[in-house]
């Protein structure tokens, strides 16, 4: 029955749902955190002594921090119902490359330059998608290719190293070293790294923006129904442009750390981040329809991906089988998300 009547929009409005499946409500509230807790339990059973050790927790957080930074931004795109930013990989790559190229001018210029480049990508995307209403997937795909071409042509397809760029200049070499240390800065006796802190701070800021600012609340309406938002007096162009700028900014922060971690700037930095980040965001309970989900969920999604890999390695599942497990878990969670959203009238 569900199949048939839900096929018509007319039927939806007729069905006033008062009887609500408790399990689905629970899933709707807790979302991917259920998976996180399950994974914790599994991890603890397999390796009771080390699983909750500082080392392991740190390794999980450290592993997800790059993806996490991107997801904190990508969530805005998904939330605004623009599906996905396919230009993420090149935003990551180009911001890293630019900042390495700027190493001779000091660390401030170098970081600022990298972030500015990423933001510029966001502005262009925002203009095309926010102002001209280009199809988000296809435009960002095309723009990714253009950026990729530009990056390859500009640097001749080679990798750039901060210390090589610095040349023999002492001050520049010091800057290069500072740059390389970005991803290797630790606090509290090595248990917390700068990357984790940045990621968590980005999530907290994102959470704050989403729930406690004008922009976040307006974005929710834009994501749910663009026309409604426009006719309710929201500046949709500015909101969507801003969401792309935030996304690209987050990606460029990720790009800086990525390059710093690799100690290399290259056009293949961030390859595959477009879909892997989307996977995490969707796991976190956002839907492509937009306007649904929260930053808490997205953080859960990112965490779940990291923990899944961790647990699978601990169990001893090989890389090949990991793909299969990831795929099935992903489909399962997304299915439950979709189902609960439908049953609760959120989709």
């Amino acid at each position: 029955m569900t199949k048939v009547n839900e096929n018509t929009t007319a039927a939806k409005s007729d069905s006033r749902k008062t009887e609500i499946n408790k399990a689905l409500v629970f899933f709707d509230k807790a979302g991917v955190w259920i998976l996180v807790v399950c994974l914790m339990a599994i991890g603890f059973i397999i390796n009771p002594s080390d699983y909750f050790s500082v080392g392991n927790i740190r390794s999980i957080l450290q592993a997800i921090s790059l993806t996490g930074m991107c997801c904190a931004g990508l969530a805005y795109i998904v939330y605004s119902s623009n599906m996905n930013d396919m230009s993420l990989p090149m935003t990551i790559a180009i911001s890293g490359m630019v900042s390495i190229q700027l190493v001779p001018f000091g660390i401030v210029v170098c970081i600022f330059g990298g972030l500015l480049t990423g933001t510029l990508v966001g502005i262009i995307n925002g203009f095309m998608i926010g102002k001209l209403r280009a199809n988000p997937i296809i435009w960002t795909l095309a723009f990714n290719m253009v950026l990729s071409g530009i990056a390859r042509v500009a640097w001749g397809g080679s990798q750039i190293y901060p210390d090589v760029v610095a040349g023999g200049n002492e001050a520049a070499l010091a800057t290069a070293e500072t740059f390389n240390q970005l991803a290797r800065t630790y606090f509290f006796g090595g248990s917390v790294s700068l990357m984790m802190v940045v990621m968590v701070v980005m999530f907290i800021i994102s959470y704050f923006i989403m729930t406690h600012t004008k922009f976040g609340n307006q974005l929710k309406i834009v994501g749910t129904n663009y026309e409604t938002a426009r006719l309710s007096g929201l500046n949709v162009v500015r909101i969507i442009t801003l969401s792309y700028i935030i996304c690209s900014f987050c990606a460029s922060v990720c790009g800086l750390f990525y390059a710093s971690m690799r100690k290399i700037g290259s056009y293949d930095n961030g390859m595959g981040y477009d879909f892997s980040c989307l996977t995490a965001v969707l796991l976190g309970g956002m839907t492509l329809l937009g306007g649904k989900g929260s930053m808490v969920g997205v953080f859960g999604g990112v965490l779940a991906v990291g923990m899944l890999n961790n647990v699978m390695t601990l169990i001893g599942i090989s890389t090949f089988n990991q793909y299969l497990v990831t795929g099935i878990v992903f489909l399962l969670i997304v299915w439950l998300n979709t189902k609960s959203a439908r049953k609760l009238g959120r989709a």
């Binding site: 048939v4 039927a11 749910t224 129904n225 006719l231 007096g233 959120r346």
Partner: protein, 502 residues
């Protein structure tokens, strides 16, 4: 001669999670009869007809067509049994050509495998001819024809399936009155061919004009069936509402003040030309005209959503135009859109979110904004408009149509704009909600604000408007005010006749 029973539904029920939408209804339609199905929104009439069209596979009860018991579990089965349904919401594919829309699901075959394009076009032409659209090129996509034409294509599509029973769910909602007359001609024609027709509409006038029999439903149950000759307007409304509604529009005093807004020489070529009018404080100004006269377009240009070629707005001592809705709201103009589902509401968000959406800008402090701090405004509005159930966190999706419309109204009242443009504020809304909304509109005007009302519901215009300007083919052709506003004077003026046309 007693006509044969074409359709008989016995003890039909349909349950949605939590509600019994149709509760043991018996329903009969005879051949060559136009059977009107009436009831408030949510009375279950649309659901009953959807059962007939095969949209649900889990209804209970028995349906007999021509005396045979049928199981109508898919649209295909319903079609095979000769049920044709014209839906309230257009179900045409806009990018696809007219011919394929007309013949969807039954494209003629040739050589067993391929589809016969020539034959398809011939059939399409024939069908278009039947609804008076013979001049259209059937290869054009639907997106290139007008809304009214699309509605007629929809009707032609159903006629093409050679149904024995035709169900029309609010077929006239997008048609102008000439087209309604054309449609009625087609219906009479079909009647002569001994087809059974079920007609759902909120327009009492239409019902009394075309129907032979009326069945009234309320709360999923059948209330009564009577021939149209044996009933009256009042009786019908009484049965539908379940309580007597003597005077729908209460008498009211208007306090018309000074001019608060002036629209000067508005022109968007191809849509409307040299439109000028002024709006006074406390006034409800109706802009009337047939469908396609340019009412909505004017509104959209005023608020800056659509472009404008010439003209200015004078308001609060400033002259100019607004470049977008944000600016319009800042200048105290609100616009209640006609289609709440597509343009009006964010359906999957809560009532509170929807009510506050237009004032986030105003409520935010330095970019910060927390919806939780503004629950008071929401509660106020919920109370004012009697939104039921009164839960700010309920999803709008989970409200009935009338309550959704109230939320939309609440959203605009919350903005504190002093001019509200209401585009079809009560379309497809039950009588109770209609009353609440009307009361709110009058209250609002009483406080010294101006209302521009765009409505095709003539009784509504008559009941609310202090003054009406008549728009015809993009030009203002006349103005009626005060007591002279009656349904007939409005209709005459809209059609370019009568003394009010200048």
């Amino acid at each position: 001669m007693e006509k044969k029973i074409a359709l008989q539904m016995k003890n039909v029920s349909k349950r949605f999670p939590g509600t019994l939408a149709v509760d043991g209804v018996d329903f009969e339609v005879r051949e060559g009869e136009v059977h009107a199905l009436m009831g408030e929104n949510g009375a279950g009439k649309s659901t009953l007809m959807k059962i007939l069209a095969g949209l649900f596979n889990d209804y209970t009860g028995e349906i007999y067509i021509d005396g045979n018991l049928c199981r109508l579990h898919t649209p295909m089965l319903a079609k095979e049994h000769g049920v044709g349904m014209i839906y309230q919401e257009l179900s045409v594919a806009r990018r696809i050509s007219i011919v394929e829309n007309l013949l969807v699901g039954r494209l003629p075959k040739k050589n067993g495998l391929f589809y016969d394009k020539k034959e398809a076009i011939r059939q399409a032409k024939e069908l278009l001819e039947r609804v008076g659209l013979g001049y259209l090129d059937p290869n054009k996509p639907i997106s290139e024809i007008s809304q009214c034409e699309a509605q007629l294509v929809e009707i032609a599509k159903v006629l093409g399936t050679n149904p024995k029973i035709i169900v029309m769910d609010e077929p006239t909602s997008a048609l102008s009155s000439e087209e309604v007359q054309r449609l009625f001609k087609i219906i009479r024609n079909l009647k002569e061919q001994n087809l059974a027709i079920v007609y759902i509409s909120h327009h009492l006038a239409e019902i009394f004009e075309i129907a032979d029999t009326i069945t009234v439903m309320r709360d999923g149950k059948k209330i009564k069936t009577y021939p149209v000759s044996e009933t009256t307007n009042e009786q019908l409304i009484h049965d539908m509402v379940g309580k007597s509604v003597k005077e729908f529009y209460a008498d009211r005093e208007s306090h018309i003040g000074e001019t608060m807004m002036e629209v000067k020489d508005f022109t968007r070529w191809g849509f409307f030309h040299h439109v000028s009018f002024e709006l006074h404080r406390g006034e409800v100004l109706a802009i009337c005209g047939l469908a396609g006269a340019g009412r909505t377009e004017i509104a959209r240009s005023i608020i800056g959503v659509d472009p404008l070629d010439a003209g200015t707005i004078v308001k609060d001592g400033r002259e100019g135009t607004y470049k977008d809705m944000t600016m319009a709201i800042k200048n105290g103009i609100g616009y209640l859109t006609e289609d709440r589902k597509v343009m009006g509401l964010a359906l999957t968000q809560s009532v509170a979110d929807n009510i506050l959406v237009s004032i986030i800008d105003k409520l935010s402090r330095g970019g910060l904004y927390n919806p939780k701090n503004h629950g008071k405004i929401v509660e106020e509005k919920i109370e004012e408009l009697e939104i039921y159930p009164p839960q700010p966190n309920r999803l709008v999706n989970a409200l009935s149509g009338g309550n959704q419309q109230k939320v939309l109204m609440a959203k605009w009242l919350a903005t504190d704009a002093d001019v509200l443009i209401l585009d079809e504020p009560t379309r497809g809304v039950d009588i109770g909600a209609k009353q609440t909304i009307h009361k709110a509109v009058l209250e609002y005007a009483k406080r010294g604000n101006g209302v521009i009302l765009l409505s095709s519901d003539l009784p509504e215009v008559v009941g609310l408007a202090d003054r009406a300007i008549i728009l015809r083919e993009g030009y203002i052709t006349g103005e009626i005010s005060g007591e002279e506003i009656t349904e007939s004077s409005l209709l005459m003026a809209a059609n370019g006749e009568g003394k009010h046309v200048s």
